[in-house]
């Protein structure tokens, strides 16, 4: 056994992929450094209302993972941290990590006095910009580590209202960024994805019409912790929509936008249609699609939704979404009928795809033509989750488990 065998595995990203990879390796006996750019863990799934096809909340699975994380002494979690540089060394990598100042120390009890005192409101990043929060706030109700975060860029110059309000002395406005250098055996890249920006779809009303939202925003609208407390209301006037339209392949499978299929948006829209229908039983729901892509056993889910009263599936990609008489008009050819329809809706959900977050990694990874990280066993880097390929949560968990095994093999030595 040589002296490099006890180097930890570096996992970049603590979303569902990174958490899984880190836990699998740590529970096998390896040391892991888990790095997350946000001040909290859980990534995209923490914001979702329900998983398909079981329609259960992601929070419960996440809670189990967080408990495993808390108990495991082999995982060192670094939130608010980014990989700043990496250099290949014999049997691994030498990496530089920079940790942004959090300004809220571990004395924080999440009491909320600081939020009450804070004078600045900002659009809520966790709610996809819908609704507002104070500049110092708790990211979301179940956020972990259970500490408040500060959007320091939004603060007023010289303001220290939060520090004055905190009776535990948990606010350190003088905190500074720190940097550390580490040697690691291998790297798991689980940096996840960003939703394709609505603003790039103006012909579908994206970024132009307030009642045209993304599928990810829909998750927040329906979530009990979201901007409306879980009531599905249209953003323009706060009224419950009577007609909801889902536009599939909005900026996906499209050489002008994302050339690939994200593979989850059909199922996500089917799921969202079901919970909209459950909350608003009178609503008319239509899903406009090119193809209904529900691979494997998810075919049953499709059949279930297609057979639900009040939900229509129309074959045809929507070409235009326009404002019309206080509502929205969708122009689409009903391919099966061979006629062009001018359909009305109060709320339009664009099923936008997933953009891999691998562009600015300071690692010599190769990307495919769509920006996903390619497998390269010789590189000492293993991709996991959506940054590897577009996939739904269950696949991400399997992918991350496999990635963890490969990362352990690459790091060498024995657990």
């Amino acid at each position: 056994m040589n002296d490099t065998s006890n180097r930890p595995i570096l996992v970049l990203g603590a979303g569902i992929a990174g958490l899984t990879a880190a836990l699998e390796a740590a529970e096998t006996g390896r040391f892991v450094v888990l790095v997350e750019k946000n001040p909290w863990v859980g990534g995209r799934v923490a914001a979702f209302h329900q998983y398909f096809p079981k329609l259960c909340p992601p929070s419960c699975g996440l809670e189990i993972n967080i408990r495993r994380l808390e108990r495991n002494p082999r995982i060192r979690l670094l939130t608010g941290t980014r990989l700043a540089g990496a250099e290949r060394i014999e049997g691994g990598w030498r990496v530089i990590l920079t940790r942004a100042p959090r300004w809220v120390t571990d004395r924080c009890t999440a009491c909320g006095e600081c939020t009450a005192a804070c004078p600045v409101e900002i659009p809520n990043p966790f709610d996809q910009g819908m609704g507002t929060v104070k500049a110092i706030h708790r990211p979301h109700a179940q956020s972990w580590p259970e500490r408040f975060v500060m959007e320091r860029d939004a603060c007023r110059q010289g303001c220290h209202a939060c520090a004055d309000a905190c009776e535990y002395g948990a606010i350190d406005l003088a905190a500074e960024a720190t940097t550390e250098e580490l040697e690691v055996g291998s790297v798991v890249v689980a940096t996840g994805w960003e939703p394709y920006p609505l603003e790039k779809l103006p012909e579908l009303g994206g970024g132009v019409l307030p009642d045209v939202i993304s599928n990810v925003q829909m998750e927040r609208l329906a979530h009990p912790g979201g901007p409306t407390g879980g009531r599905i209301l249209r953003p323009s006037d706060g009224a419950p929509p009577r007609r909801v339209a889902f536009v599939q392949c909005a900026g996906s499978r499209d050489v002008n936008h994302l050339a690939y299929c994200s593979g989850v948006c059909c199922l996500a829209s089917l799921k969202e249609a079901l919970y909209v229908r459950e909350q608003l039983p009178g609503a008319e729901i239509a899903i406009y699609y090119i193809d209904r892509r529900t691979p494997g056993r998810n075919e049953d889910f499709l059949e279930k939704v297609a057979g639900t009263e009040g939900i229509r599936l129309v074959k045809g990609k929507v070409g235009k979404v326009l404002a019309a008489d206080g509502g929205l008009e969708l122009v689409v050819e009903d391919v099966e009928a061979g006629r062009r329809l001018h359909e009305r809706a109060d709320l339009v959900v664009l099923a936008t795809g997933m953009v891999p977050s691998a562009g600015d990694l300071p690692l010599p990874v190769e990307l495919d033509e769509d920006g996903f990280v390619l497998d390269d066993p010789a590189s000492g880097v293993v991709p996991a989750g959506v940054v590897h390929r577009p996939q739904e949560v269950a696949s991400v968990v399997r992918d991350a488990t496999g990635a963890s095994a490969r990362a352990m093999a690459m790091a060498g030595g024995r657990a």
Partner: protein, 377 residues
């Protein structure tokens, strides 16, 4: 059990489309974005998604008989939005050239002009040769020392003896094609109602401003270029007609002063033709990925039109300012280009005038009641 196939795919058609540059049709995955965004397509019979499928499958009979092929003005709103870069606008442009060739009478001439990439020297050279031969045989090659009028070299009778028979032949050939096309259009789809002359009148009224062309967003300037060109041609034709009547009905003396109403009309037409041609040429030279690709078939027609307009204008300027030794050869070149334009009418892109007009009339006669108002009304 049925013994006849429901569809008869033509591998030949697919090959021909490929050869003409319609290769992108194969990329279409039938999402129908094109049919949704086309402002020219009627809601009851949207296009061009169905036409893309016909092109992919090689459904020649269906494509030939489809009025939608001609309702398209190649503005390329569909191409700009197509998620597969299947370029429906360009595919339909290629299909139109195929219709012109297949319905041509005689078909061999249709093929000859369709093959313009190799046959263009003949199409441009033969008429020039004809003029030179005619002038040579009648002893008119060369400029006399004391020339009063250009008519001494190129007499009007010679012009009439070429253009009248050619025009008659061309009209007869175009008539056969028109008849074939009209029968094909009526062979599928809803039955026609009303009379053709009434429908043609409505189409003519629509063409006055090219309102339908105005629905296009991606290649918007093309509307104005085409409109100027059409009006320029109408003006030039009216001027020519008036002149012939005046010359032989009222023994008018030539040349006319520049202030004469006929002259003013003619010159205004020339300006419209020049402006229109310039716009269309510039539009064609723009980013072809956006505004549409140009095939040899398109280029030939546009180049001939541009050369006719350009030499025509230069001849007028030359007649006023340059010696006859320079102006006369230019005049002969102009006459030969006009002959190319006329003689290829039923076989070149020029024939779109015939086919699109008939298709627009057919569309008016088959329009469904439940359709929303046409953008042109």
């Amino acid at each position: 059990m049925a013994t006849v196939p429901l569809i008869a795919p033509s591998e030949e058609l697919r090959e021909e489309l490929r050869a003409r540059g319609g290769t992108s049709a194969a990329r279409c995955f039938q999402c129908a974005t094109c049919s949704a965004v086309c402002d020219l397509a009627p809601d009851g019979r949207p296009f061009p998604r169905r036409e893309m499928l016909m092109a992919q499958w090689g459904l020649a009979d269906q494509l030939m008989a489809d009025p939608a092929v001609w309702l398209c003005h190649q503005c390329n709103d569909c191409t700009a939005r197509c998620p597969r870069d299947a370029r429906p606008g360009d595919v339909l442009q290629v299909v139109r050239s195929l219709v012109i060739e297949r319905l041509a009478f005689p078909r061999s001439l249709g093929r000859f002009v369709a093959n313009v990439r190799t046959t263009w020297p003949v199409l441009l050279g033969a008429p020039l040769l004809l003029w030179v031969l005619l002038l040579g045989l009648t002893g008119h090659l060369g400029v006399p020392a004391h020339l009063v009028s250009w008519e001494e070299v190129v007499p009007h009778w010679m012009i009439y003896s070429v253009f009248f028979p050619v025009t008659l032949l061309v009209m007869a050939a175009a008539g056969v094609s028109a008849r074939r096309f009209w029968v094909l259009l009526g062979s599928t789809g809803p039955p026609r109602k009303g009379s053709l002359p009434v429908a043609l009148g409505a189409v003519a009224a629509e063409l006055v401003t090219h309102r339908r062309f105005g629905c296009c967003e991606t290649a918007r300037p093309r509307r104005w270029g085409h409109l100027a060109l059409v009006w320029g041609f109408v003006g030039a034709a009216v001027t020519s007609g008036l002149l012939i009547v005046a010359l032989y009905g009222f023994h008018m003396e030539l040349p006319l002063p520049l202030t004469h109403p006929f002259k003013i009309l003619g010159n205004l037409s020339a300006v419209a033709l020049l402006v229109g041609t310039a716009i269309l040429v510039v539009e064609r030279l723009k980013d072809p990925d956006r505004v549409g690709r140009t095939t040899a078939f398109d280029t030939f027609f546009l180049v001939v039109v541009a050369l006719v307009v350009l030499t025509g204008t230069l001849v007028e300027v030359a007649r006023l300012t340059l010696p006859a030794a320079v102006g006369l050869p230019m005049y002969v070149v102009h006459l030969s280009l006009v002959l190319t334009l006329f003689a290829t009418f039923p076989y070149s892109k020029f024939a779109h005038m015939l086919y699109r007009t008939l298709a627009l009339a057919h569309e008016r006669m088959t329009r469904e009641n439940d359709q929303p108002p046409d953008p042109t009304d």
